[in-house]
């Protein structure tokens, strides 16, 4: 079986209801086309981990009723204000929220990457973030006297879903500076990737390209999704569609408006 899937829906097959799904922050390239495909399929009960924050992607999944638990450090539409479906779901207790802080999520993924049960991190002590995370621990640094330090348990997602500029036919994915995409793939049991295009030839053959590659060894399936981050941007490739985000912020402000948005932009496949 080729690592390159025949269709986006086929590539997303491993993302079943109720799994722990890891997704990246906005600047790392958010797989929005894949997110819409999951909503069309009616995905449910996800434990979504956004490393370390999210914007439209989490808001859309929450509004569509796909999320049981959300674990991240922040969700907002940035210059377009609060994420309306996120805010509404929290205030009405419709999702379980695991508030974190960005470096704690990075450390927890790095723990899984290294195959260790936990990772230490400075700070956090005395915050209510810690108070509401009984799954986090505080120990006394064994190398000092009376030096409390937080330990984060490893986060091992069932699937990491990411988007990148290109992949070759062996499933090698060029991620460039977005190193956390490699950490996510190392930490997750399976990694599914959408890409702007397929690169002919071996991305590992050229040392300059290879420096930015996530090896196909870690990649379960790849599907082509041109402009796959729309309406969000893909740094160095295309900018965020600010007009569309403004429209989303307006429509998603009410449940009815959000339902209309889903009909218009998600259930009806947009022309690519």
């Amino acid at each position: 079986m080729s690592v390159i899937a025949a269709s986006l829906d086929e590539a997303l097959g491993a993302i079943a209801d109720g799994i722990m799904l890891a997704v990246p922050r906005e600047v790392a390239g958010v797989p929005m086309e894949a997110t819409r495909a999951l909503i069309r399929r009616g995905i449910k009960r996800l434990h979504l981990v956004a490393l370390p924050t999210s914007s439209l992607q989490a808001d859309l999944l929450i509004g569509a009723g796909a999320i049981a638990t959300l674990e991240t450090s922040a969700v907002s539409l940035n210059e377009f204000g609060p994420a309306p479906r996120f805010t509404d779901a929290i205030i009405n207790g419709r999702i379980r929220m695991l508030d974190a802080t960005c470096p704690a999520l990075h450390a927890a993924f790095q723990a899984a990457e290294k195959g260790v049960p936990f990772m230490p991190l400075r700070g956090i002590l005395g915050s209510d973030v810690l108070k509401f995370r009984p799954d986090w621990r505080v120990i006394d640094n064994p190398f000092a006297n009376s030096d409390p330090i937080v330990l984060l348990p490893a986060i091992k997602p069932d699937v990491a879903l990411i988007h990148a500029p290109m992949a070759d036919r062996a499933g090698n994915v060029w991620i460039g500076r977005q190193r956390e995409l490699a950490t996510m793939a190392h930490a997750a049991a399976k990694t599914i990737v959408t890409v702007e295009k397929i690169h002919d030839g071996d991305l590992l053959a050229d040392p300059v390209l290879a420096a930015g590659v996530l090896p196909g060894f870690y990649v379960e399936r790849v599907a082509v999704a041109a402009k796959g981050c729309w309406p969000l941007g893909l740094p160095d490739h295309y900018a965020t569609d600010l007009g569309h985000l403004a429209e989303y912020a307006k429509m998603a402000a009410t449940a009815d408006g959000f339902a209309k948005y889903l009909d218009e932009y998600v259930y009806e496949r947009r022309a690519a």
Partner: protein, 248 residues
Amino acid sequence: MSRFRTEELLADVIARLIGDVRHIAVGNSSPIPATAALLCRARGKGLPYVSLLQSRKHNFFTDGGVELFDCAGQGRIDVFFLSGGEIDGEGNINLVSIGEHDHPKVRFPGSFGSAHLYFVVPKVILFRTEHSRRTLVPRVGFISAPGGSPDNVHRPGGPLGLVTNRCVFGFDKARRRFRLDSVHPGHTVEEVVEHTGFEFDRPATVPETEPPSDATLRIMREVVAPELAEVYPQFAAAVFGQRLAQPA
């Protein structure tokens, strides 16, 4: 009309608080702190390094999202900026929610990296342009990051001060208390007291915030504004009349 805009005053105030450092990092949606950081760089000779997290150009990180926090953990970030849906008199900030945690009345985006950066960045400058009893409260409803810590907690970092649209507060780490350092032109001490929900110290006479010099305004408008336009096109256009460019 005034010789300068409020945004220019605040950026100049922040630049003075920053002082002489090697590396200033600025998070998302922070155009005024970004203006201040770029102003410091424009005045310096190659230093300080400025990392605008939203920018591709003014951002040297190549190790993914973790590098900012690793860099701070290494002691290599001297200045960072935090805000809060609520900020209280002990410097605690709330970026999460108001009301019962599981069924809050108000929900903010979340803590971002504050619970770590507030501990490890030596000069954290708190910044809030809505100075009201709604935002500056006696006690925050949720502590995203505490203003102070017990002596045995590893904490090289913490709050340096709080800049608002009305005034500048300094922070006394020993007493965990704000001190009114200056009031912006056109504002009064009485007004600050009226709109501040927490107790703070103040000298017998509170000076007026020093306005930006013509030289500073020139650098901001001629050097900083074009750089800013890459990340904050709307802001650069509105404040500096910078021609709109599509963000990278």
